[in-house]
Symmetry: C2
Subunit: 391 residues, 2 copies
Amino acid sequence: MSTRSFNPPVRTLMGPGPSDVHPRVLAAMARPTIGHLDPAFVAMMEETKALLQYAFQTQNAFTFPVSGPGSAGMETCFVNLVEPGDKVIVCQNGVFGARMKENVVRAGGEPIVVEDNLGEPIDPGKVEDALKKHRGVTLVAFVHAETSTGVESDAQALARIAHQHGAATIVDAVTSLGGSPLSVDAWGLDAVYSGSQKCLSCTPGLSPVTFSERAAEKIKKRKSPVQSWFLDLTLVMGYWGTGKRTYHHTAPINPLYGLHEALVLLKEEGLEASWARHRQQYEALRAGIEAMGLSYLVKEPHRLPQLNAIRVPEGVDDATVRSKLLHDYNIEIGGGLGALAGKLWRIGLMGHGANPKNVMSCLGALDAVLAELRAPIQEGAAVTAAQKAFA
Amino acid sequence: MSTRSFNPPVRTLMGPGPSDVHPRVLAAMARPTIGHLDPAFVAMMEETKALLQYAFQTQNAFTFPVSGPGSAGMETCFVNLVEPGDKVIVCQNGVFGARMKENVVRAGGEPIVVEDNLGEPIDPGKVEDALKKHRGVTLVAFVHAETSTGVESDAQALARIAHQHGAATIVDAVTSLGGSPLSVDAWGLDAVYSGSQKCLSCTPGLSPVTFSERAAEKIKKRKSPVQSWFLDLTLVMGYWGTGKRTYHHTAPINPLYGLHEALVLLKEEGLEASWARHRQQYEALRAGIEAMGLSYLVKEPHRLPQLNAIRVPEGVDDATVRSKLLHDYNIEIGGGLGALAGKLWRIGLMGHGANPKNVMSCLGALDAVLAELRAPIQEGAAVTAAQKAFA
């Protein structure tokens, strides 16, 4: 057994997350730990809530980071909003929709799955049909930005349809928050969860969530207790709420320093500027990818700029390419998940990592590795095309 | 809304946790983030598991840190081991026993509460009686080291009795791990959870757990699915197990760097040496506390060295004292929880923070604050008494 300190290699993280963490966030992680009920910490919690309201574009009072990764945020939404026997429409067009279904089942709900092809957005017409067919649906759950395929769905349209049928929404915004337009209040989203490790340039482990008045009411009116004690919002809000702070669990102090710093960075840049930067980097990357002769899984109007799902060309071994990028260039990109394993590369341009240096080095390295493997690409074209796009 | 970086005050953390974090752990938190499936990270995961086996004194294969605070570790044990209708004996002699009961109820189990007074250890005789009275009990759950009162219970005796009646055990070792004797295999404990922020000198947010063969078998034989997707061990072990790593959730990378470093520190010092150091600091603190004329809640043979529960003297306002310690001396100590609110101070000597400097500064500051408030104490006696104890 080793008893040596761990010194990680220095990677460039361009997969589906975690993404490159801003140096200011890393520095914040190492600040002196203080108590979870320290007045100075409580003041920082209030700032974090306000900064998250800005990031989510919401006035929701129930806006805070869950003390666990995105899957804990997902589960927070489901166990608090689903009661045994509830009918829940789950839109499924990727891996994370399938997880939502699993969450509904385990919370005792009855999932009604509305399926779309991998790489395609959720069809609002199908959701409307399902709502007409199944009376008494209480929730519509969907992924705004599918990290497994890089597709964006029309969250506003889906929320409108859900509300027209008296249903609230649970929305996965893990990959969208901070990276592409998301407007919780204007779009009327009810329960939204995200992650710290994507477009916020923060370390993984926290899950920002927000709950509308409608969602908060639904939770208050529950007939059965929430099955999770750790994720029970009525208890958690005793700590994160505005009144006297009641100890519920010991908050992850230093990771919360990191998230606060990441949100300060987002506020300094401005949300719209951040969205625009992500799009600009995507356009340059796309120019390079297409010049190489590679293609995207998702059609243009539905592509997420921060998650580029690129088809692995015929005859090329996905894992070999990713391994070479990691070992020879210290660049991490992602592979496909589930049915898309071996068929996709997922290149993330997220948060701090959405910058021209990363675009260029990734394209240059991918070009070199594919050329070395004699893949059927247009060698040497990628970097020049991206340069032109940036010009 | 502030958009400024947060710079916490520099406190000395001598409450019930978080405790003072070792500078090497803080430095580890700021190391460059890498991917959760990076080969370098996977190698570090293996080291962390081995180091945790050492800390827990176990060979259990199912030994890893849950990606959430101690309450998530607690819930991991209960939702995986309790099935609907299961009879579970819950020993209750403090706040954390009450939480265990809540966990049993929410997992659909039938709790049988065996109660002992606050500040007293769990009476193994009562547990034996309950096991004889209620046939078919599947689990006995108890807190080894009650953080709310500073009392230690005889985990080995309780586990022996449980096994004699065919029941497995769930054990809260949040405050004991690393600070006072805990020997999972020798004592025959089945499911044990702890926290990173107590005697490991690490930041809060992770919960080391370990499961015996008996517990692992029980989980494999479940008739109903685990109600939590996030905490379902059969899924989590797909990521933390030894075979091909399957993505379950994005691990909290940097906090895991911190935990690894904390465990390396523990290995460097040696577990027995760490236990001895905690006891030595306790003896010096106790000498000072008693010289002042203050008294402990818990009787001597059952006291936890790392959590000193001291009675607030008559006529002294608990909150005023803690507030003065925090603001005038930057020292945090804890107050009482639940029925003991306002009646107790909880002084932690945990991990890195269990050192003579902390003992002396805490005694000196407490002495000064109490003297200022004209409390009925023996002024100026504490520090000298502690010095003698150290000599």
